[in-house]
Amino acid sequence: MTPRKESMKDLASWENEKDYVIANVTVVDPSNNRIHDGYHVGIKEGRIAFVEPGKPQVASMSVFDGGGLHIAPGFVDIHVHLREPGQEYKETILTGTRAAVAGGFTSVACMPNTDPVADENSIVEFIIKKAKIAGFAKVYPIAAATVGSKGEKLTEFASLVEAGAVAVSDDGHPVASAQMVRRVLEYASNYNIPFIEHCEDMSASANGVMNEGFTSTRLGLTGIPGYSEQICLARDLLVLQSVEVPFHAAHMSTKGSVELIREAKRRGLPVTAETAPHYLAFDDTDLGTYDTNLKINPPIRGVEDREALIEGLIDGTIDCIVSDHAPHAAHEKQVEFENAPNGAIGLETTFSVVMTHLVKPGHMAIADALSLITNKPAKVLNLPAGGIQPGDAADLTLFDPKEEWVVGKDDFHSKSHNSPFIGQTLNGRVKHTIVDGSVVTATLMHV
């Protein structure tokens, strides 16, 4: 590590400097699968001006000490629930985007299952406006595919896209009818936006509350079979054969789904897929204490599923990792297991889970693993994010790849604390997050 010079400032003391250099960093460039030690990064007017080796020679710009940290494109999460409008007691756009930047995410795409559902342009505009006022992460709304996410009537894609929607989805519910899936795909093709499906056959899930298997039998809890996800995914892939429009499968959880997607990609279908950190870190045997923070839909699956998902990430079958950040108030989770709502928060732990469960065990190199939360998810939704080249927006995340930390139960910027990782030791920690050149983590403490 280069000794800190008198002239170099700590990034935490950043105060509205517009043009500056971050010296003494290791650049991680996931798009080009490269890592460069001993680099410096110049930022001008909110954009990356230069990424160069050695010490900075620019006299006219303030220089901050990167302290030997890694610097990567700001992380991108294309599946979060910000709960506003309607459920501000769980999360708001302000608290959710603070949680995002605390976890290194500079761009997030939020799901439309708010109250009311984001199925018309005024709600999409409202979300974008609130996110701008908050001033932390960039927020890209995903609009509902059908009115009220009821699966009956198409929403107004034209005006939703004009308002800023980047995709359509009825997340939380599957689109129940095959005919409606076809209509959504056909209509979406006009606007060049992907359809994101929550793959679940409700008749197969029935009243299940956890993965079906030996553990559900032991615990006397009703199981959700893995084929609940696969039936819906397989049906959609069949529809996709006749309507070739970008289709993105949300929160994949089973081995069978990985196989279906692998086969669909082999046949050249325009399919992409995501999974979430909790499916990589846990398996259903971890539910033995009826911990409601592990009650998630789709459920935490078996050991074989977890292994298949990691395999799918390594071979590119699964394109990206999303947090599926799903805040719920403490009183909602402190109930009987079957009465608890589904979901866990994840924005503040996702990066560290990726480091702990993919990089540390040697499944993936750091640049490959980070592409799952930078350029690859950005590509799925065509977001202007995930790069670290001159000219790109100065959305950057600095992290220590080695630091170990214990997830504390009150350590969250999110309004809700329903994390299954509380008490766990994770590897790799986000230190600073920069959005359009502003070191937003430096201002986090002052809000």
Binding site: S216, T217, R218, G220, T222, G223, Y290, V335, E336, F337
Partner: protein
């Protein structure tokens, strides 16, 4: 082993054979009390126990209440319909409010699997599971095992058959956990739609044919067809179930003459058990009920500190020490 090293009784899963035997031996010594003219001992004098029943119950609730009274504990009964749950109070608040009244034990019956575990993690008071969803019913498991042991002696190598809706049965699970630990040879029998995934990993044999299952059996425990729990059709008709899995005179002919017939109640006569079998001398169904009171006396006694407390009772001068070994497990 003479005392219990746990705050709560949540299930028989994970309990050692030694621990189960402590319950059974303690039960044996309490059984005689109910035969006396004056059916009362001062063992739990000064203890307060709340029976919190969120599901209907005749046997279990009466059994716990009688056990509490015969041990001189002060008992309070709360059922769902007469509690603030109907006003929307959460389980957590209900339990914490009861604990604030300085109670010692909560006996809970709840439709949600894991509800007693949730309470046990929140409360300092002891929690006794009186049946949670389709998970466990440990005192029923213990009373079934006690009845088996009284009739058969050592259970290791004995063939015990559990018939019926295994998937939805907490009684089946507690029996399986306890019996397998004690070395019994457990067979489960019922329609495939009522067999939960991976049940064989609990160390039981699956036999779909009732007549083959009961062959060489030392006891057959019939699970009730839980009509109220079936949200989807698991078998075509009650008549078909009765003809394929119901125990009747014909089934008895395929069994060893000394094979016991058990049922946790309430019985659906004419469905899982015929009138003749229920009333035959093979049936130990009412013995089970008698033993139920003794098992619950033993459970509450052990949970409340058991031998520890008795020592305190014999020395009136001594200030009551907090029971030892009360860490949550």
């Amino acid at each position: 082993m003479t005392e219990l090293d746990r705050k709560d009784l949540l299930g028989l899963e994970g309990m050692s054979a030694e621990e189960i035997e402590l319950f059974l031996d303690t039960t044996a010594s309490f059984k005689e009390i109910s035969e006396r003219t004056v059916k009362k001992v001062p063992a739990l004098r000064g203890k307060t126990i709340v029976n919190l029943f969120f599901e209907p119950s005749t046997r279990t609730r009466a059994s716990f209440e009688l056990a509490e009274k015969r041990l001189s504990a002060d008992a309070v009964n709360i059922s769902k319909s007469t509690s603030s749950v109907v006003k929307g109070e959460s389980l957590r608040d209900t339990a914490e409010n009861l604990q604030a009244m300085k109670i010692d034990v909560i006996v809970i019956r709840h439709a949600a699997s894991g509800a007693p575990h949730f309470l046990a993690s929140l409360l300092d008071a002891s929690v006794v599971n009186a049946g949670d969803g389709a998970h466990e019913h440990p005192t029923q498991g213990l009373l079934d095992i006690f009845t088996l042991r009284e009739n058969l002696g050592d259970l290791s190598g004995r063939k015990i058959v559990i018939v019926g809706d295994i998937a939805h049965s907490r009684v089946a699970r507690s029996n399986i956990f306890g019996l397998v630990t004690l070395g019994a040879d457990v067979t489960v029998c019922g329609p495939p739609t009522m067999m939960p995934v991976g049940i064989e990993k609990l160390g039981v044999t699956i036999e779909r044919n009732l007549l083959r299952a009961v062959e060489d059996a030392d006891a057959v425990n019939l699970m009730r067809i839980q009509l109220e729990r079936q949200k989807v059709s698991l078998f075509p008709t009650l008549a078909e179930y009765a003809s394929v899995y119901g125990m009747n005179r014909e089934t008895l002919r395929h069994m060893k003459p000394e094979c016991l017939v058990m049922h946790p109640g309430p019985m659906n006569r004419g469905v899982e058990i015929s009138q003749e079998v229920a009333d035959s001398d093979r049936a130990v169904i009412l013995e089970q009920v008698t033993n139920g009171v003794a098992v619950r006396m033993a459970t509450l006694y052990l949970i409340c500190g058991g031998a520890q407390r008795e020592k305190v009772l014999t020395d009136e001068e001594e200030v009551e020490a907090p029971p030892a070994n009360r860490e949550a497990v």
